[in-house]
């Protein structure tokens, strides 16, 4: 990068907030995926004005910009594949307003998801989306990826909870979409921006919907000998008119990894455990829990555990919360895949995951948001073993193909990013790809913002510069 440009960047954000040494840059060459791309500079912005000034400069100089929060992205979305600068937003951590009467909060993009929830809880409120990364991932990143989490089944994904945005366009112009109310006249640009993976604009303020915490929560754990019985239990619960807050599945390999590390007390020989949570007003919730127990029993559950206290609830959750960490201990590393199928296909796809993995001779376990049909196969492997790494990626791709084949999709909540763009044609034809390319054309005709993402390369070419 030209020294003059670096000098101008330093004038905008301060000399200490522009990193250029190789040692510093190496901390930003990766995210939670495996590939690495070194940025030319890392710039920390602390305000909308700084973001705007940086983008005006990069626009004039045709420098690519990748916005970044906590860097927990699981699809390579935060990798600077075309060089340029990484624009760090993790210092924009102000919660600007909390308006409980209107069920809204306005936050900056660097606010950590769990920090927002912890701030709201004493007020009796919460922000519903709760991705597994919520201890570190930022609201800006959650908006970029339309993050999900275990509570999506009842409460929806990030896009259902974002009503307004302040956005800096690639040319540095600051715009506002939506606002405090829903149904602003015109196109729903807010809805389009959520899940756009930082390719259209840099979000600098987020107006979120906040909701009341549920009065009561009931947590149950079903232990199963067959995956099919779990699938049928999920269907039966829904058919009974119950929409649980959570329906989380862990299969045998994950159960065993969990027992080796956190000892959650899950039976090692079970085919799967299903963690079920219902919430709402207290009246009648007991009856819902009883009904769920009956439905589990009807579907040959081996055992149902019902939490009778907060401590027992935590114990049932311990295994789910510790699942990723536990899996990480089995082998030197792990890769989490993310696909979604219609819920009715869940048992079949989980079986398929095991078959495909066996055929590729790789170790796998499954954590799934069963109520959403969203599966997370976890491959346990050694990235230094190039052959094993190749087999893991091949198995992952084959699983996603299997998801698409049953009317599922390539990503439920991790995004397309870099990792999955070559698979996009499995789900979408040239027509759809053209329609999506038009979106990019409108917002970022010079192709400077997080370039090289989402669409396959042949659809990324900008029409104008």
């Amino acid at each position: 990068m030209r020294p003059a440009l670096l000098q101008q960047l330093k004038q905008i954000v301060g000399p200490e907030d522009v990193l250029t040494s190789d040692r510093d840059l190496m901390a930003y060459e990766y995210d939670a995926t495996v590939e690495k791309f070194l940025p030319e500079a890392v710039v920390f912005a602390s305000s909308t004005q700084e973001v705007a000034a940086v983008l005006r400069l990069t626009y004039q100089n045709k420098v690519p910009v990748v916005p970044r929060g906590a860097g927990t992205n699981l699809s390579g979305g935060t990798l600077p594949v075309k060089g340029g600068i990484v624009l760090e937003l993790s210092r924009m951590t102000r919660v600007l307003t909390i308006d409980t009467a209107n069920q809204r909060a306005v936050v900056e993009p660097g606010v950590i998801n769990l920090d927002l929830q912890n701030l709201l809880a004493p007020l009796g409120f919460t922000y519903a989306p709760d991705p597994a990364s919520q201890k570190v991932s930022t609201m800006g990143g959650n908006v970029g990826e339309d993050s999900g989490g275990p509570h999506c089944l009842k409460y929806g994904v990030t896009s259902n909870h974002i009503v307004g945005l302040e956005v800096v366009l690639p040319n540095g112009e600051v715009i506002h979409t939506g606002g405090a109310v829903e149904d602003s006249p015109g196109y729903d640009l807010t809805g389009l921006l959520v899940g756009s993976e930082g390719t259209l604009g840099v979000v600098t303020k987020i107006t979120v919907r906040i909701i009341r915490l549920p009065e009561t929560i009931k947590t149950l754990l079903g232990v199963y000998d067959r995956l099919e019985d779990v699938g049928q239990t999920v269907s039966d619960i829904i058919a009974a008119g119950i929409i649980p807050a959570t329906l989380e599945l862990l299969d045998r390999p994950v159960i065993n990894a969990v027992e080796d590390s956190v000892q959650a007390g899950y039976p090692r020989d079970a085919a799967a455990v299903l963690l079920i949570e219902v919430d709402g007003v207290g009246d009648g919730l007991e009856r819902q829990a009883d009904l769920i127990v009956e439905l589990c029993q009807k579907n040959k559950v081996r055992e149902v555990r019902v939490a009778k206290s907060a401590a027992e609830r935590d114990a049932l959750w311990a295994g789910r919360r510790g699942a990723f960490g536990a899996v990480a201990r089995v082998r030197p590393s792990y890769l989490v895949q993310d696909g979604t199928v219609p819920r009715t296909e869940l048992a079949a796809i989980l079986r398929k995951v095991l078959e495909i993995s066996a055929a590729h001779n790789v170790t796998v376990g499954n954590v799934a948001h069963a109520g959403d049909g969203n599966l997370h196969p976890l491959f346990m492997y050694d990235p230094k073993d190039k052959d094993e790494a190749r087999r893991v990626h091949e198995a992952g791709a084959e699983i996603l193909k299997a998801c698409v084949d049953v009317q599922g999709t390539l990503s439920g909540e991790h995004g397309i990013g870099l990792e999955k763009q070559k698979m996009m044609p499995w789900r979408f034809g040239p027509t759809e790809m053209d329609v999506m390319a038009k979106v990019k054309q409108v917002w970022d005709p010079a192709d400077l913002l997080n370039p090289g993402k989402i669409l396959p390369p042949e659809y990324q070419t900008a029409k104008a510069g």
Partner: protein, 439 residues
């Protein structure tokens, strides 16, 4: 407008893809929008035919008004041109309904009422209850995005829609989203189509999240001296952990139409809870407490048959009033804590004002005004809505009222919205001139 020759040629071309009518003067009246009438009525029977018809219209430069049930065609500015009514009623298939998956895929010409009946046969429904005509179709609802009382509990149409297939002016059919409830596979174009008044493409198929029908429902009402007081009760209820499936503030005129005994000058708060019996009972008890704290004498529970009658009469009145030929109707989008105050303000404007409001923030005002007064009243109410961080859209207006800005300032930069329009409909054939900022 196309020349007679061009219309003739287009009719011949369209006939290869769809049923085409060349209506006489009398027949066009049924398809008139704000005084403009089409030269052709095109009724495709399949999604591919919609796409083919759009491509032909695009090549000819023919202005197209997509048409579902036609019940909400009064929404929007007058079309700047109108050659073809593209009627989607032929797309009448329930494509797929998988109760265990809680999703339903339906073609755009299916009436909401018919979809609800089909889902109801399996104990489910689309949790969406806008006060619309029985003729309203899925396509028309997606284009106009009205909402009903249930929005308070589950969100609006945008939150229920997970997949679309859209026919484009380029002659293609483009999918977005799919049949899964979590999906981050490319840009979320579904959001762009909801409420876009058919200006970006014609939705031919949509997939929604469905819900189990609640075990039971309970309804209740209370009488207040003002909308602000009723709004205070709403505020109290929103601060609790309750999840009501409707909290509606009605002025005396609307309450009377809904068969609620509310004295002249007073307001009703009509509430509903849906779910399992014990939870519904708890809601009813808390409604009564909140109503008393906010100044009502008490709350009256409606028995099942009365509740059915009241909600249905209310929806019927709201629908009829909104779209009546000689009515000025405005829709506010407001933060919940401004709803009561703005409803009071609205009720003081014009004669025979009917005002009703949803706790989630939508409020409606209809009134009789002399043609010269409408513009001023709308400007005043819009200024009040905007001062409260809200917005106001004129949904309907009598033919003798002109100089209204129907949409008001859009919720985002006009330049970007126009750029979106240019990319998706470069020749501007879809509903030209009817949407925000001349789109």
């Amino acid at each position: 407008m196309l020349s007679a020759d061009a219309v003739g040629r287009l009719a011949g071309q369209l006939a290869g893809a769809a049923e085409v009518q060349v209506p006489d003067e009398q027949a066009t009246a049924a398809w008139a929008v704000r005084g403009r009438r089409p030269s052709l009525i095109c009724v495709p029977a399949a999604p591919e035919a919609v796409a083919a018809a759009l491509a032909l219209c695009d090549q000819t430069g023919a202005a197209v008004l997509p048409w579902g049930g036609g019940s909400q065609q009064r929404l929007g500015e007058p079309p700047s041109a109108y050659d073809v009514a593209l009627v989607v009623r032929g797309l009448d298939q329930l494509v797929e309904f998988e109760p265990a998956n809680l999703t339903a895929t339906v073609q755009a010409g299916v009436r909401l009422a018919d979809l609800q009946a089909a889902l109801g046969a399996k104990g489910q429904w689309l949790p969406y209850d806008p006060p619309v005509s029985p003729a309203a179709t899925i396509g028309g609802l997606l284009a106009t995005n009205p909402s009903g009382p249930y929005r308070l509990k589950v969100g609006g149409l945008r939150d229920l829609l997970i997949g679309t297939v859209v026919a484009t002016p380029f002659g293609s059919l483009a999918k977005a989203g799919g049949r899964v409830v979590k999906n981050v596979t490319g840009y979320d174009l579904n959001k762009l189509y909801v409420g876009s008044l058919g200006t970006l493409g014609v939705v031919v198929e949509a997939t929604f999240k469905t819900s189990p029908r609640p075990e039971t429902e309970g309804s209740w009402y209370a009488v207040f001296a003002s909308a602000a007081q009723a709004g205070a009760a709403v505020g109290e209820l929103l601060r609790t952990s309750l999840t009501p499936s409707g909290l509606e503030v009605l002025n005396d005129r609307v309450a009377a139409a809904a068969d609620l005994p509310v004295p002249a000058g007073r307001w009703a708060l009509l509430g509903r809870a849906s779910g399992f019996r014990p939870a519904v009972d708890r809601h009813l008890a808390e409604f009564a407490k909140a109503a008393r704290r906010a100044g009502a004498a008490g709350a009256e529970q409606l028995d099942e048959s009365a509740a059915g009658r009241v909600w249905s009469a209310y929806a019927g009145f709201a629908c009829q009033k909104r779209w009546q030929d000689d009515t000025l109707t405005c829709r506010f989008a407001l933060p919940p804590d401004s709803v009561g105050r703005l409803a009071d303000l609205a009720a003081s404007h014009g004669g025979e004002a009917a005002v009703w409001a949803q706790a989630s923030g939508a409020a409606f005002w209809t009134a009789a005004l002399a043609p010269g007064e409408a513009g001023r009243a709308v400007a005043q109410l819009r200024a009040a809505a905007r001062a409260a961080a809200g917005a106001l859209v004129v949904e309907n207006y009598p033919a003798d009222v002109s100089d209204l800005n129907v949409w008001g300032p859009p919720g985002g930069p006009s330049e970007l919205m126009r750029a979106v329009k240019r990319e998706y409909d470069p020749r501007g054939i879809l509903n030209p001139g009817r949407f925000v900022d001349g789109i």
